[in-house]
């Protein structure tokens, strides 16, 4: 808890003295961190490997974009509503996807994301097709407060969403519900035979994961002022899975670090070479082979050794 407070305080103080561009990068890193953490709920705690988590992100982004473009709902509420909507849609998705297990489950999540991608390309009035939604505003309010529209205000909104999301996810995995999830992860047949309806638990965790992932996407839309089909593309699903694995699965904090690390390396490498993804691939292979417990695991190993 003390650790959490220290990190929150550090994040809250960072905007003072940071140049605008660093603020932009930091805000994006926090959004990606929330997105990666949301996937960890599925991957790390219930061993539900999703290849289509971009669906959650894109759903959140398009929903929030449309709310902000077409209504006067204040920015923070629009973001929350879009996250909720993504979670509700996920119940249906999970109901279908959890018919299968293992690789088939992963393939179904991918199929669903690609379906949304194809729909987004055709549903011009809602998604703007290949042009995307441009000029998404940061609507003022509530109570006439315009602070969230500013650079630092938006940063604090993102920070609040990340910390809130983290507390929610942590409470979830520490509860009896989380214990059942871990049971599913270790041995689903055994958990089932203990009398738990494991499918319901899986649907619930997918919904929670999509809700937080949708929240991240919902923040991205007003952050960039723009949303397009890239946000639903499998490339993003792959990247977020890499962030989770590099950061450390089943830790919640690890994937956030993984996202920050990913963006940092991308930022640094891409100034030198256009094929930065090639080099990141090498880093990824290195993690899988030599540090399967990820960045957080490495850090823990290091602190134990000293």
């Amino acid at each position: 808890m003390r650790m959490l407070l220290a990190v929150a305080l550090l994040l809250a103080l960072l905007p003072f003295g940071l140049p605008p561009y660093a603020m932009t990068l930091l805000t994006e890193a926090l959004i990606m961190g929330l997105f990666a953490m949301s996937l960890d709920l599925m991957v790390g705690y219930a061993r539900l490997i999703s290849f289509g988590h971009a669906a959650a992100y894109g759903l959140g982004a398009y929903t929030c974009g449309n709310i902000l473009l077409h209504t006067d709902i204040p920015l923070p509420f629009a973001v929350l509503l879009a996250g909720l909507f993504s979670g509700i849609v996920a119940i249906g998705v999970a109901w279908v996807c959890t018919q299968a297990t293992g690789v088939s489950f992963s393939m179904l999540t991918l199929a669903f994301a690609q379906l949304l991608y194809a729909v987004a390309f055709k549903w011009t009035p809602v998604t703007g097709a290949s042009d995307g939604l441009a000029g998404i505003p940061r609507s003022p309010g509530p109570f006439g407060v315009t602070w969230f529209a500013t650079k630092s205000g938006f940063y604090y909104l993102t920070m609040a969403c990340l910390i809130g999301g983290f507390l929610f996810a942590r409470a979830l995995v520490r509860s009896p519900f989380g214990a059942v999830l871990r049971g599913i992860r270790e041995n689903e047949a055994k958990t089932l035979s203990l009398g738990y309806n494991t499918r319901l638990y899986k649907i619930a965790v997918v919904a929670a994961s999509y809700m937080l992932g949708g929240l991240a996407g919902a923040l991205y839309a007003p952050f960039a002022g723009f949303a397009n089909t890239e946000l639903l593309f499998w490339l993003l699903s792959g990247q977020v899975l890499i962030m989770v694995i590099v950061g450390g699965t089943g830790t919640l904090v690890g994937p956030i670090l993984g996202a920050v690390f990913f963006l940092f390396v991308q930022q640094q490498l891409s100034t030198y070479t256009d094929s930065w993804a090639l080099f990141f691939g090498v880093i990824f292979i290195g993690f899988v082979l030599f540090a399967p417990e990820g960045i957080l695991g490495l850090a823990r190993r290091w602190t134990r050794a000293h």
């Binding site: 390309f121 042009d131 441009a134 397009n228 890239e230």
Partner: protein, 397 residues
């Protein structure tokens, strides 16, 4: 010469008077240029880059702007609007650019322009065609030096009014520019009392056009209006040639460019259409430009190289009049800027920041001695007939 070498050379050229500059304590004027350098629209991005670099060399050799050297910060967007927004944000916030060029696709420009006010940056377009940029999506910090999609379509329809063709079909790229231009075309031909049979749209990056070609043939049209560019345009033209489509249907394209002609060779013969710029325009400024260009590159400047050069000159005129690159001072100066451009006298319009300019109809013909067929100007229309009313995309008469 590769792009990297040219860039190294340019930075060496820019570094030459470095002692002088430091003595006066001045930093170069940096212009950000997010461009699609790779992907289906990469060829256009490369042309825009050439055009801007040509101007840069010229202006720096003459002592720069306001006594400061000028530098370009070029970034690759791959033609994706989301990446474009990110790269534009980078050049503005990280590199401190207050002036922007570039953005190949209209969808990229539409994504970026809402951010210009927050960045306090001016964006001078050299290529974006979508009419909404000077219409419903207008923002005060956006200026369009180039001819827009509705304008090039208007040029074609003015030309078609005089012709014999009665029935038309249209094929466009499935994004902002394609839909916008075909919308205007439909409106124009219907007003001229001709028949518009239908339209189809191909996704960006389409390689196989056979189904589209079949649809065009089956439509029974006399003429087919094409809104394609880059690799898509070249792919379509060569396949249309294989299917002998032009035997039955007159192909009318919204942009005739050398790159597509070079890509498809004789398949381009007979193609008619509007062009935003062509090296054979007859005026002193263009003759000087083409001569310099040929001396440097041993080639004729292509459409987007010429258009980019014109946009650079427009921005230069604004900066020299305002004696500042600050958006608040530059904007009013640009709003009344007039230049003797390579396309003749071009005037920026204050009400929607569209540069008023004429349009050209060219037909691709075989020329003796030339390696490739060449576009020849067959009709010219003046700016007041071609430019729509302020913030409009359609035309009254």
């Amino acid at each position: 010469m590769t792009g990297l070498n040219r860039r190294t050379l340019l930075s060496a050229a820019a570094a030459a008077p470095v002692v002088l500059r430091h003595a006066r304590g001045e930093t170069p004027i940096k212009i950000g240029m997010p461009l699609a350098l790779t992907g289906p629209s990469g060829e256009i991005g490369q042309q825009m880059r050439h055009g801007a670099e040509f101007w840069l060399k010229e202006v720096n050799a003459a002592g720069g702007l306001l006594g400061r050297q000028v530098a370009l910060q070029i970034e690759d967007t791959t033609g994706d609007p989301a990446t474009c927004v990110r790269k534009a944000q980078e050049v503005v916030e990280r590199d401190g650019c207050k002036l922007l060029f570039g953005m190949v696709l209209s969808s990229e420009a539409l994504a970026v322009v809402p951010k210009l006010a927050e960045w306090n940056a001016i964006f001078m377009s050299s290529d974006n065609g979508d009419g909404r940029l000077t219409g419903s999506s207008f923002v005060p910090n956006f200026f369009r030096a180039n001819i827009s999609g509705p304008m090039e379509t208007r040029v074609i329809s003015l030309w078609l009014r005089e012709g014999q063709m009665k029935k038309f079909f249209a094929l466009g790229m499935d994004y902002a520019w394609g839909h916008n231009s075909i919308g205007v075309f439909k409106d124009e031909v219907t007003k001229a009392g001709k028949t518009f049979l239908g339209d189809v749209y191909s996704p960006i990056g389409t390689k196989d056009f056979s189904t589209y070609i079949t649809k065009i043939r089956q439509s029974g049209a006399d003429g087919c209006f094409l809104v394609l560019q880059g690799d898509d345009n070249a792919a379509f033209l060569s396949q249309a040639h294989e299917y002998r489509l032009s035997d039955r249907v007159q192909l009318i394209t919204s942009i005739v460019d050398l790159n597509s002609i070079h890509a498809v060779g004789d398949a381009a013969i007979g193609l008619a259409g509007s062009t935003r710029y062509v090296a054979t325009i007859d005026n002193p400024a263009n003759k000087a430009f083409v001569a310099d260009w040929q001396k440097q590159f041993n080639a004729l400047p292509d459409v987007f190289e010429g258009e980019q050069y014109q946009a650079c000159k427009m921005l230069q005129a604004g900066i020299e009049a305002a004696k500042s690159i600050d958006a608040e001072k530059l904007r009013p100066a640009l709003e009344v800027a007039t230049i003797d451009s390579i396309k003749g006298k071009i005037a920026m319009r204050a009400c929607d920041h569209q540069a008023v300019q004429g349009g050209y109809i060219v037909k691709v013909k075989k020329q003796d001695g030339a390696k490739y067929p060449v576009p020849e100007i067959i009709a010219t229309f003046p700016g007041d007939k071609v430019t729509p009313a302020c913030r409009q995309m359609t035309f009254e008469s």
